[in-house]
Symmetry: C2
Subunit: 265 residues, 2 copies
């Protein structure tokens, strides 16, 4: 499964919305012919890693991620959720793991609002814990689908550390700015609020727990069965992207002024 086109993606009608069936077919042809340019770099391969994974308790990892958020933010809190139990269960390379070396992935990279740091943190753990590029990429791709198309956060902490929150939202994207923005609008709170902080902490727990499920399957079976095929997005319009095109390409995005007014209330 190096380059495979997803013929049909359940529940996603990107092809109808945007490009039309003919265009998708053309896009698929490009790939199946091996590409206009030979995308020889697309080959998958195995790699070595000293980081061994053993089956973890999802709830435990989620709770640790949640608790760590208020110090370490999104990326490093997910990493902490794994490293804490792996230090005990496996030891080895996990001992002395520099959890906070990844802290700046928070807020979509140092607050730039690009990739949600919970996914960056999980991707680091998945990459280190697996041994071939296809397995890592398949898990991370599935995790991006989970992140984007699930109402989150659904995690309920053992004890609420920051604030009661009431809403879950579907981000439609792994992009921090859009994901956080949608939830803030739904909850009616500002970025620098305890509620927003609580939401991101619970989201970190959700993403960590989903990743635990994948890695536990891998630990048990020596392989992972992807839920979604790779490169659906690439095939759809010839450029890497998620499926939330109308969030930017169209009339849907709230104007920054409107957003700001909403959040000032």
């Amino acid at each position: 499964m190096t380059i495979e086109i997803e013929k049909k993606e359940k529940g996603l009608s990107r092809r109808d919305i945007i490009t039309g069936a003919g265009k998708i077919a053309a896009g698929a042809a490009i790939l199946s012919m091996g590409g206009i340019g030979k995308v020889t770099e697309a080959e998958a391969y195995s790699y070595a890693s000293d980081f061994k994974y053993k089956k973890l308790n999802p709830r435990e990892v989620g709770q640790i991620s949640y608790e760590n958020y208020f110090k370490r933010w999104c990326a490093s809190s997910v990493i902490a959720g794994f490293v804490a139990p792996l230090k005990k269960k496996v030891g080895g390379a996990w001992k002395g793991f520099p959890i906070d070396a990844y802290r700046a992935f928070h807020g979509g990279l140092a607050g730039w609002g690009a990739l949600c740091g919970t996914l960056s943190g999980a991707a680091v753990i998945i990459g280190l814990s697996t041994r071939d590029t296809d397995t890592a990429e398949s898990m991370i791709n599935d995790l991006a689908f989970y992140y984007s198309y699930t109402e989150l956060p659904s995690f309920t902490p053992a004890k609420i550390l920051k604030a009661k929150i009431h809403n879950m939202t579907m981000a439609g994207t792994p992009v921090c700015h859009i994901s956080v923005g949608k939830w803030m609008r739904s909850e009616g709170v500002a970025f620098l609020s305890n509620e927003r902080s609580e939401r991101c902490a619970r989201l970190a727990a959700n993403i960590a727990m989903e990743a635990v499920g994948m890695l536990n399957e891998y630990a048990a079976n020596g392989k992972y069965s992807p839920k979604h095929q790779l490169l659906f997005n690439l095939a759809a319009n010839g450029i890497t992207s998620q499926n939330n095109c109308s969030d930017c390409h169209g009339q849907n995005p709230p104007s920054p002024n409107e957003t700001y007014q909403t959040l000032k209330k």
Copy 2:
């Protein structure tokens, strides 16, 4: 410098474009008062890491990153650019570093088009090579500014490995989808082309070289002097974001259909 508002950002007129001076002032006030919610998690701190950095040759790192791209893609090729010379110069923890464990950060995370993988790769190296969250975050923030507001790629390889390319573009964002899309429109090529591949390989070299400059300063002086202050984006409209709002919030974004038609030519 835990939370500091950038009063004035040279060359960026976000406040005028979007929110107006009064609104920015309100946003700044929220932060200077310590926040609506106490953002106690914003504290900076030092951390341990076994990864030692020694001064590297930017051009050498850039060239290695460029060459590695065609196998390893954006994130891991930047990492390879650093790890190859650091293995020789420093050894230690860099020996056996799992370069490919980070490969799935390519294409904005497994092709989802969020954060450009060159920045993810550089952020991993910066995080491992520094020792406190403020230094790492300042470097990565400056790197995101460089990425977003520089005409790239400007790197010229020792030998062109994939294709001649002619254009440089300013991404205005660290987001892969927008960055790659703008360059493709400018160059008039599709995603699965040798030209696009060549562009991303050269971009990997540029980002790696810029990061080398920062880490070399840190190695020489034991500290890094930030070029941009943190949290400008956060203060501007109460949500993490970059400065390219009108790329999505407005009439500027090309429709996906238009983009596709352009690229089919």
